[in-house]
Amino acid sequence: MNEGKVVKPKIEAGEIVVENVDKFYGDHHFRKEVVKDCSFKIERAKLTVMIGPSGCGKSTLIRLLAGFEKPSAGVITIDGKPIDGPGRERLVLFQETALFPWMTTYDNILYGPRARGELTKETLELAEFLLSKVGLKEFRKKYPTQLSGGMQRRAELARAMINNPRIMILDEPFRGLDAMTKELMWEYYSALYEENRRTNFFVTTDIDEAIFLADRLLIMSNIPTQVRAVLEVDIPRPRKLTDIVENDRANEIKMQALSILHEEAMKSFSRGSKAAADFVEAYSKRSAKA
């Protein structure tokens, strides 16, 4: 019924600044440094993608941004105000689905508005709009266990979007989906982003995903993590899946990103990391083909 109509909430895009943040675990006898002197900016109304080797500390950074944990040193501000605990202006999507199993797709999507007593006519319209945007109109009465992995992620995207957060934070949301579903998800997700250009922060380990989605690409060092490089992904939107392979600019950015990641991997390789060894091997094969 709302197929053609675009329901647009008023977007207030936020901005996050991370300044000289450290995060340590354990006490001073056995201290694990996960984030060390890390600074970056999540720019307003842009899709910033963070890519880094597994275990470098990306999820740890996300927990800091979400406010579930506090930095050991440094400050994180959102629109100038220091972050103090979780807040509804920042919505976080984690790796594992967090749809409530006891609610239908529709009730899951309406969770936030109901919780805040904002179940207005506009909200219901927005729910309809988002349902069709993520292709779940026919699945509104289904429970999460009845949805496929990709559908669950889409339902969760809709559930997050309806709250109209100033910033969306996503931690490897499409990890574990098969390649086809993943590409479908990129299309859904980037369409949602292009629809209303809110501030998005997306963490991944997949270089194709990163290039397809990003406005800005933050490349992270190994643990303790820092930003190694920032690349502007200036490929026009809407992008096509074929761009990742055919677009020259995309390939250029990809090789640049991979060589920085390769350097990082080599460093930890020489320190005896097994994950890094895998990466170095994969990278060598890839550059040989290119």
Binding site: G87, R88, L91, A98
Partner: protein, 289 residues
């Protein structure tokens, strides 16, 4: 999720297995007749050689045959006292069980969500829990003014512990992801309780109730036997199914003992089926894998 598909092969198998069981039972019970026959002299000799000198099969030969039981059932089926026994036992089970739910669920939830309440309540609970409900019978006869209340109380205890333990366990095992997600969407504590903790605990409440219901029937029968049945309406057997069995034993009617036992079996089966149906209804998301 088993037991949902009644009908088809499952129903057929059920009927077949019960029929076979009844036939064997009948043959075994009638051994006092056929063991005397010439044809089975070898079996008789074998039994004698292991020291069994009675002229019927061990154990099963002493049990009244299904046909005899059915006959005895036919006699009590229009007896008010028999149905009053049903009524009394069901009432006690229902009363104790509902009380256990009404008190146990909020109590369990309180212990699960409130640290202080847990600190105060749980140690007492854990000290009392290992005491079997039946050990409470004498004490509760002293505490409570009427026999009826003391039976109900013991029945209540049977289900209470199981329900509380399940509620606490269930609420505790709700994934923190759900709390974080709810929080970040602007949920208040009350909202989180109502829409996350309560439905998240519901499957455990259902399981706890089913187990609790089973214990309730065990306890009520024993309590009725010990306490002498409570009220006495409709002749000799008015005090519940447990008392019905006890009374039949005292009166030497072995067929009626079996009638009482099967009656309890049926009552237990009906109540667990009812609970299962109800449980499925309140947790629709669980049956749709």
């Amino acid at each position: 999720m088993a037991g949902r598909k009644w009908g088809g092969t499952l129903l057929w198998r059920g009927v077949a297995s019960i029929t076979v069981f009844l036939v064997f039972w009948e043959i075994g019970s009638l051994s006092k007749v056929w063991l005397k026959w010439e044809t089975f002299a070898w079996l008789k000799e074998m039994l004698v050689s292991i020291g069994w000198t009675k002229n019927y099969l061990p154990w099963i030969g002493a049990v009244p045959a299904p046909t005899e039981v059915l006959l005895a059932w036919g006699k009590v089926i229009d007896d008010v006292g028999y149905w009053h026994s049903w009524y009394m036992s069901c009432l006690r089970v229902l009363g104790g069980f509902i009380a256990a739910m009404v008190i146990g669920i909020p109590f369990g939830l309180l212990l699960a969500v409130n640290r202080t309440a847990f600190g105060i309540g749980f140690p007492v609970f854990e000290v009392l829990r290992p005491i079997p409900p039946l050990a409470w019978v004498p004490a509760s006869i002293i505490f409570w003014p009427t026999q009826e209340l003391s039976i109900a109380f013991v029945t209540f205890l049977g289900a209470f512990y199981t329900i509380v333990i399940n509620v606490i366990g269930g609420a505790r095992s709700i994934d923190t992801r759900y709390f974080q997600a709810a929080q970040s969407m602007g949920s208040s504590s009350w909202d989180i309780f109502r829409r996350i903790i309560l439905p998240g605990t519901l499957p455990s409440i259902v399981v706890g109730s089913a187990v609790g219901m089973g214990i309730t029937w065990e306890v009520v029968v024993a309590a009725e036997m010990i306490s002498g049945g409570g009220s006495q309406i409709g002749g000799t057997s008015g005090g519940g199914l447990g008392f019905f069995i006890w009374n039949s034993y005292v009166g030497g009617s072995y067929e009626q003992i079996v009638v009482g036992m099967i009656s309890i079996g049926i009552a237990g089966f009906i109540s667990s089926e009812l609970l299962r149906t109800l449980g499925h209804r309140v947790t629709p998301w669980l049956r749709l894998r």
